[in-house]
């Protein structure tokens, strides 16, 4: 029976989760070092060589901090909300193919936790349910300002999720299937146009969708120019103001896991995940994801912050029409393609 | 009852529907009533999917899709009315809002 | 030997007297003085010229009209209110006790002028807020520091000191430098009760 396959995918999932948590910890270190270098300073270098033990130090510090629950907070919801957003974040990585199926000890191990054929929609669904972490966190902290902060952040996440979804439709039209495995296989074909042979990565055939996806992804994870919750905490009270100690770090780390998952997704969808010029493999995926992560930090170092109405205006008035336009164009090209063949 | 068949789905759908109906009848807060209506619509979906599964037909799923679309539209307009009501109505008492009937 | 000792007479004619930034130093030829004396003969009291500065002293009630006149007259156009302060003349003269000093500047003509008016302790001064929006906080500070009430001010309350400051006005000469008592915020009189923290203190 398929108990064995179930066990294998559980093991792969377990390994993936631990790798992801490790990556998340060292993503904080990576960001602080790169941000420092961009700002003409050194960044953490006291704890261990090049400050490599900094994430562990932060973790312990946050563990030791007192975990305050405000008086008129809705206790149960207050405690559960950060867990919700923290738990949902790594699930997105379950659908990303990390490599061809290996044959270990006579068992073929697919380097992919779950090959469901609605993978892209699954990622979108996770995004839309992840909103509850924010909105319940804001509601449960009891004070009116963090509630308003939560509503504004949720409105931002929902409108950019729409743009994210629509920008992916272009890719889906070309690849014909929702499963990331097929999309990857589609991108591994080589395209011969005149003299140069190009890998059929979707960034080449879908540049607009790639740009839209990137912007929406940055906004979805509340990062860089769209980091309204962080500005909210300065101005009024963001949704996680009342949180402290390790509960606060759930939100904080969920943001980093979201960043990693979205970078992996972008690498797989647009840059042909494990497909590389010489030898295909998970290192290509890591390299591309690293580029996206650097892009996140680079944005944070340079760009100032959007205002709330500009941010929403950008989503509904600029990105959404562009996404619809992209879908129409890709549809036409696809039809013309089939029609012509 | 060992084999999974449409009756399972129907039983679940019935249970959800009844709970939704009771909620609509007994609760006072208009938003909870709203949620109960969503619950009843969802119960309908479950039965549609049950039949679609048993009879290997896709029409059930298509209708479920339409039900979801309509439920979303209805939620949007319903909540719009609630927002408009709360702002314009100076008093909260429902009786005054009955002028529509007279 | 030591450097030659510098021994110069105290020169009252210093380079400061001829800058011309306040208009002609001779009080009679100064356009503002001449026009104000014609326009407000009753209110006009005296003119003082020191270094290159010209100060006109007017009656208390006419302050707002004089400043409005100086602002709107095409030949004068003192349109920039630089400062409103007050001086407690307790030790320098008997009556009236305070001097409200209005500092004006004409941006087109690049010239300054100072208007003063004497105010006694209980009297009110016509506020300049309807003429200059910039006078709002300046007058609130004068009220806060000296207790001079500006009649017609839209929102006269303390600006620098806390609202519930009940010990009079600090910049008055009879207010002691250290104040009457240390200001303790209401509600924090008693020291905070010691709460046993949840963290167990290390044993003795």
């Amino acid at each position: 029976m398929d108990w064995q396959r179930l066990l294998v995918s559980y093991l792969v999932g377990f390994v993936l989760l631990n790798v992801l948590l490790g990556l998340m910890a060292y993503m904080t270190w990576f960001e602080r070092r790169v941000l420092a270098r961009l700002q003409h300073r050194v960044g953490p270098n006291r704890t261990g060589p090049f400050g490599l033990l900094q994430p562990i130090a932060d973790g312990i510090k946050l563990l030791a901090k007192e975990d305050i629950v405000p008086a008129n907070a809705d206790r149960l919801v207050f405690l559960v909300a950060p867990l919700l957003s923290f738990a949902l974040a790594p699930l997105g990585a379950a659908v990303i193919p990390f490599g061809e199926t290996l044959h270990l000890f006579g068992v073929d191990v697919p380097l992919l936790v779950a090959d469901i054929n609605v993978a892209v929609l699954y990622v979108l669904a996770l995004g839309s349910v992840g909103v509850y972490g924010i909105i319940l966190g804001g509601y449960a902290s009891g004070n009116r300002y963090s509630l308003l902060g939560a509503l504004r952040s949720t409105a931002q996440v929902i409108s950019y999720e729409l743009v994210l979804g629509l920008s992916l439709v272009g890719v889906l039209i070309l690849s014909g299937s929702l499963s990331l495995q097929d999309i990857l296989r589609e991108q591994q074909r080589t395209l011969v146009i005149g003299p140069l042979t190009l890998p059929n990565w979707y960034i080449l055939s879908q540049p607009l969708a790639f740009a839209l996806f990137l912007i929406a992804a940055v906004a979805e994870t509340n990062r860089a120019p769209f980091d309204l919750p962080e500005a909210e905490t300065e101005l009024v009270a963001g949704y996680f103001t009342e949180y402290s100690g390790f509960r606060f770090s759930f939100y904080f780390l969920a943001e980093y896991i979201n960043m990693i998952v979205v970078s992996l997704l972008a690498a797989t969808l647009f840059l042909g995940g494990i497909d590389g010029p010489i030898a295909d493999g998970v290192w290509w995926l890591a390299l591309k994801a690293l580029f996206f992560l650097f892009f996140y930090v680079w944005l944070r170092a340079t760009l100032p912050r959007f205002r709330y109405d500009q941010l929403m205006g950008l989503a509904w008035k600029v990105l959404l029409p562009l996404a619809l336009l992209n879908i129409a164009l890709t549809g036409l090209v696809r039809l013309w393609g089939i029609g012509a063949l | 009852m060992s084999e999974l068949s449409a009756t399972h789905f129907l039983l679940l759908s019935a249970a959800l529907f009844i709970i939704g109906m009771v909620g609509v009848l007994t609760r006072r807060n208009v938003l909870v009533i709203f949620m109960c209506i969503e619950l009843m619509l969802n119960a309908v979906n479950v039965s549609l999917i049950g039949f679609a599964w048993e009879l290997h037909q896709l029409t059930g799923q298509v209708f479920a899709l339409f039900v979801i679309a309509i439920a979303a539209a209805e939620a949007v307009v319903g909540l719009g009315i609630v927002m408009a009501l709360t702002r314009r109505a100076d008093t909260v008492d429902i009786d005054e809002l009955r002028q529509l009937r007279e | 030997m030591s450097e030659p000792r510098y021994r110069a007479a105290v020169s009252d004619t210093s380079p400061w007297d001829t800058t011309g930034y306040w208009g002609p130093t001779d009080a009679e030829q100064h356009p503002a003085v001449r026009l104000v004396r014609e326009r407000f003969p009753a209110a006009f009291q005296e003119v003082v010229a020191f270094r290159d500065e010209v100060t006109i002293r007017v009656a208390r009630q006419a302050l707002r009209d004089v400043v409005d006149f100086l602002r709107t007259h095409p030949e004068l156009r003192y349109n920039h209110l630089t400062d409103i302060t007050a001086v407690d003349m307790l030790y320098l003269r008997e009556r009236p006790r305070f001097d409200v000093v209005v500092q004006l500047y004409s941006i087109p003509r690049r010239q300054r002028l100072r208007i003063k008016c004497g105010v006694d302790d209980g009297e009110t001064v016509p506020s300049l807020v309807p003429i200059f929006a910039g006078a709002n906080w300046l007058e609130r500070e004068c009220f806060d520091m000296f207790g001079i009430v500006f009649e017609g001010h839209p929102d006269l309350r303390r600006i620098l000191l806390p609202e519930d400051w009940d010990e009079g006005h600090p910049l008055r000469k009879d207010y002691p430098l250290r104040g009457y008592r240390d200001y303790v915020q209401p509600g924090f009189e008693a020291p905070a009760p010691r709460i046993r923290g949840t963290l167990r203190r290390p044993g003795p």
Partner: protein, 409 residues
């Protein structure tokens, strides 16, 4: 033609709206708030996202500097001046010292005046760098503040070499400078003038053409020229609206008439224009410093020793009895300037900083009033904030460039 006949109003800070609807949200920002530049509290009444009324509450850093002025000798008060606007201390010293010199009718020798101008212009650049750093940080650009504070260090090193202190410099004395100028200081300042234009280009690359920066600053906090004049604004807030009033040009003190420089004026009076005006002011200051360095005589007296109000030269105090006695009286009793009142203004980096001194002939000033520029400029915040977005309040506070030390005095 500017319409001066019409008075301009005040925006009342207390809110009395017609319909006390529940949806207004009264919000307290500060006093301990990362982007209110010290202890400023702003009481905002919000309608959703739009600000209906804004009432800045100040006084948290009020130390009664003017009351202290009335119980210290003239020379003892100088350290107090650099603690009012702790970001641009030498300019404060300069303002006070010039006012006292005007009262006593003395003038510093030419070499001292040139060095005072150089120090004043360096302070202007340092203060603008602090402004740029915090202003950009409030709007979200994290890195700019790191670069501006790195360049400000160079200026602080110059101050340290000149007077031993980086922030509370206390360098100006009545009559000039009592200590000799360090020999390698001119070279250090020249080196800074060569380096700084390249640094300004770095900030401009980051901000001036940045579309998000434009979106956050263009059309925000617009002040029409008549309103700016009527609020009594000075400095970049006034010049941002296009009105040409710079104390260095309008009433040249020290030797500003021998130096050739231009006054930048904005054309739309919004946050972006004030940003451009201040960036241009930094460049003009570099020009002034370079011209001063060329024109400054390399030797000559630094102190107006001939005047009785000034501390006698140290060598003479040690050698001649008469100067020692004069030094003793100067230190213990203090010099007593003539009776009278004096107002002298200086173009501080925040605006027109004026000192109004009433003297009754005694060695202690009878009344010492500091006209601080940001106290008056801050009054325009409610005017600008009305109708603005909540996130803009931070930009508006940044564009007025306030330091609470000089607002609260």
């Amino acid at each position: 033609m500017i319409d001066f006949s019409q008075p301009t109003p005040v925006i009342l800070s207390e809110v009395r709206l017609i319909t006390p609807t529940r949806r207004e949200l009264v919000l307290n920002m500060g006093p301990q708030h990362p982007s209110t530049h010290g202890v400023l509290r702003v009481r905002l009444t919000l309608e959703g996202e739009t600000v209906i009324a804004c009432d800045p509450v100040i006084g948290y850093l009020h130390r009664g500097v003017e009351k202290l002025g009335e119980s210290h000798r003239y020379a003892q008060f100088v350290p107090w001046t650099d603690r009012t606007d702790y970001v641009a201390a030498p300019s404060n010293n300069l303002g006070y010292v010039l006012a006292v010199e005007k009262l006593c009718g003395i003038q510093a020798p030419e070499r001292a005046q040139y060095w005072r101008m150089i120090m004043a212009e360096l302070t202007r650049i340092a203060s603008h760098l602090v402004w740029l750093g915090t202003h950009a940080l409030d709007i979200g650009a994290l890195s700019v503040s790191l670069y501006t504070f790195r360049d400000r260090e160079l200026i602080l090193d110059i101050f340290e070499k000149f007077c031993g202190a980086r922030l509370t410099t206390n360098m100006m004395e009545i009559g000039g400078f009592s200590r000799e100028i360090p020999p390698d200081l001119p070279e250090m300042v020249r080196e800074f003038c060569r380096y700084f234009p390249k640094a300004i280009r770095q900030y401009e690359d980051l901000l001036t053409e940045n579309p998000i920066w434009l979106a956050r600053t263009k059309g925000v906090g617009v002040i029409e020229p008549e309103v700016a004049i009527n609020y009594g604004l000075t400095g970049a807030c006034l010049r941002g609206s296009g009105v040409n009033y710079d104390v260095r040009k309008a009433m040249p003190y020290l030797l500003y008439d021998r130096v050739e420089f231009e006054v930048p004026l904005g054309t739309h009076g919004d946050v972006y224009d004030r940003y451009l005006v201040r960036m241009e002011e930094m460049r003009q200051s570099i020009r002034i410093i370079e011209q001063c360095l060329e024109q400054v005589p390399t030797d000559g007296p630094l102190m107006a020793y001939e005047s009785p109000y000034v501390i006698p030269p140290h060598k003479n105090v040690m050698t001649t009895a008469e100067d020692m006695q004069r030094h003793f009286i100067w230190v213990i009793k203090g010099f007593s300037p003539p009776k009278g009142e004096v107002y002298h203004a200086v173009e501080h980096s925040k605006g027109e900083l004026g000192y109004y001194i009433v003297s009754d002939g005694s060695p202690i000033p009878y009344r010492l009033r500091i006209r601080s520029p940001d106290f008056v400029n801050l009054q325009s915040l409610p005017y600008m904030a009305q109708g603005a977005m909540l996130a803009d309040i931070v930009a508006l506070i940044g564009t007025i460039d306030i330091v609470l030390g000089s607002v609260d005095r």
